[in-house]
Symmetry: C2
C-alpha cells in the first residue's frame, strides 16, 4: 500500500495479531478511545460515574446491550479482538495483559469507549503549538490530584490529570482549541501552581514520564482518562477489562467530527 493505513486497515492488523502495541500517532486524524468493559450489574453505576465526571470520563459510545461486542457507532468493531492490548482485572486487582479477550468474553459484559487525549493533542499540533511530551518522545506526565470526582455507587476517587507546559499566550490558545473538543476531555481543569490541586512535584508524575518545563512556561493540566481506571480499582468489581495504556481502540470517527463548533 502506498497510503498510510486508515483506521479499518489498522484494526484489521490488530485483529489478526499483526499489531499488538502502542497506537499513538497511528491512523492520524481518527479518534482513539479508552476502553472499559464491566459486568452489567456494575455498568449502570459506571455510566453514572461518567455522566457525573465528563471531563475525565467523556463517554463517546457504549455497547447496545450486555454481551454485545460490537460498537457500530465507532466502526466495524469487535471489541474482543480490536484493541492491541487489554488488561484484565479480578476483584479490582490487575491479573494479566492479553491481546485477545474472546476466551474471556461473558454474556453480561458491557463495553464503554471514552475519549482520549490523542485527539486534542492532534488539534494542538495542527495549530502549530508544541506539545512537550510529543517533542520529547515520552508518555505525557500524569498526576493524582486532590480533586474529588463525584461518586456513583462504588465508583469514586481523585481526578487524575495530564500536564503539558506552555507559554501563557500558547496556554490561552490551547484552552480555546480544547474547548471545541469536550468529547476528548475538553478545556484544561487547572493551570499554574500545581500545589493548588495537590501536586507536590511536577518532576515526579504518578504515571507516565516527566517532561521539561522552561522558566517562562506554565504547567497546564487536563482531566485524564486514567481517572476511570482509578475509580475501577476503588470499586473492585469481580471482573473488568480495560485497554492497556497507550494501546487504544482505533475508530472510524474523525477527530474533527468531535468539534462542537
Amino acid at each position: 500500500m502506498s497510503e498510510l493505513p486508515g483506521p479499518a486497515a489498522l484494526r484489521e492488523a490488530i485483529r489478526s495479531g499483526a499489531h499488538s502495541g502502542n497506537t499513538s500517532g497511528l491512523a492520524a486524524g481518527f479518534v482513539q478511545c479508552n476502553i472499559v468493559i464491566l459486568p452489567a450489574a456494575w455498568a449502570n453505576d459506571f455510566l453514572r460515574f461518567c455522566q457525573l465526571n465528563p471531563r475525565p470520563c467523556p463517554l463517546i459510545a457504549t455497547a447496545n446491550s450486555p454481551g454485545d461486542f460490537t460498537l457500530p457507532l465507532l466502526g466495524d468493531i469487535d471489541i474482543r479482538t480490536d484493541v492491541p492490548k487489554y488488561r484484565v482485572f479480578r476483584g479490582g486487582e490487575f491479573v494479566e495483559e492479553t491481546s485477545d479477550i474472546t476466551a474471556l468474553w461473558q454474556e453480561d459484559l458491557v463495553s464503554f469507549a471514552l475519549g482520549c487525549s490523542f485527539s486534542f493533542e492532534e488539534a494542538l499540533l495542527a495549530d502549530g503549538l508544541e506539545v512537550r511530551n510529543v517533542t520529547e518522545g515520552v508518555n505525557v506526565p500524569m498526576y493524582r490530584t486532590s480533586i474529588d470526582c463525584k461518586p456513583a455507587g462504588p465508583f469514586r476517587g481523585k481526578m487524575v490529570v495530564s500536564m503539558r507546559p506552555f507559554k501563557a499566550a500558547d496556554a490561552i490558545r490551547a484552552i480555546q482549541i480544547c474547548t471545541r473538543f469536550p468529547a476528548v476531555h475538553g478545556a484544561p481543569v487547572h493551570l499554574g501552581d500545581p500545589v493548588q490541586i495537590g501536586i507536590g512535584n511536577l518532576l515526579k508524575p504518578d504515571y507516565g514520564d516527566p517532561v521539561s518545563i522552561a522558566n517562562d512556561e506554565l504547567p497546564v493540566f487536563w482531566a485524564c482518562g486514567v481517572t476511570p481506571q482509578v475509580a475501577l480499582e476503588a470499586a473492585q468489581p469481580p471482573f473488568a477489562i480495560t485497554h492497556a495504556p497507550g494501546c487504544m481502540l482505533v475508530t472510524d470517527l474523525r477527530n474533527s467530527r468531535l468539534a462542537v463548533m
Copy 2:
C-alpha cells in the same frame, strides 16, 4: 418610566445634557464603544492600525464618509452630541474636556467606534464569575506592556492591557467566555507572571485603580482600549477627539449579538 432606560433613552438624556458622566452599568445588555475621531488625512492609517491590532483595537463601526456624524449601524446616533464627555487633542496634546463637539465639528472628520471591555465584563458576570474591579467599585487597573503594536504610518506604541484576577479554573472559564467576543477585545493576551509582558508592579497601574489579588489567584490580562489613545498620542495628529475614559458611546447593538457563536 417604570423600566430601566434603554440605550435610546439614555442617549437622549446624554444628547440633551441631562447625563454627562460615566456610562458603566447603564443600558445593561447593550454595547458601549470607545470613540476616536480624526481628520480624513489620518483616518486611513488609523484604520490600518486597528486592522493590524484587532485585540486592543476591535473596530465595530466607522462613519460612512468624512464629515458624516451619524453611525447608523449602531443606532440613531449623532456623534457630535451623543457621547457624555469628550476629550479634545491638538498636535497629540490634550486640550479640553467637553460634553458637546458640535462647535468643533469639521467636514473632514471621520468617526471610529471600537469595542469596550464593559461588554465582556457583563458576559463574565452573567456566568457567575466575580469581576474584581466591579466588586471593589473601582476602575479596572491598566498597564503599559512591553508588547509592541504593529505600526501603521504614524500610529504605533506599546499595547496597554487591563487586569482582572481569577482562580485558575475561573481564568480558564473567562478565556472560554471572552473567546466568543472578539469584537470587544476577545480572549486574554496573557496570564500569570506580569514581568513577562513588562509589568513591574501590579499594585501600581499606569491607568485606573489597583485591585486586590489573593494568593491563589492569577492575574489575567486583556488587550485594552486605551491602546489606540496611546497610539494617537504618538501619532500627534493636528486634531483629534476621543471619548473621556468611562464615558462611552451607548449603542442599540446588543452585547449578545457580538458573540461569534
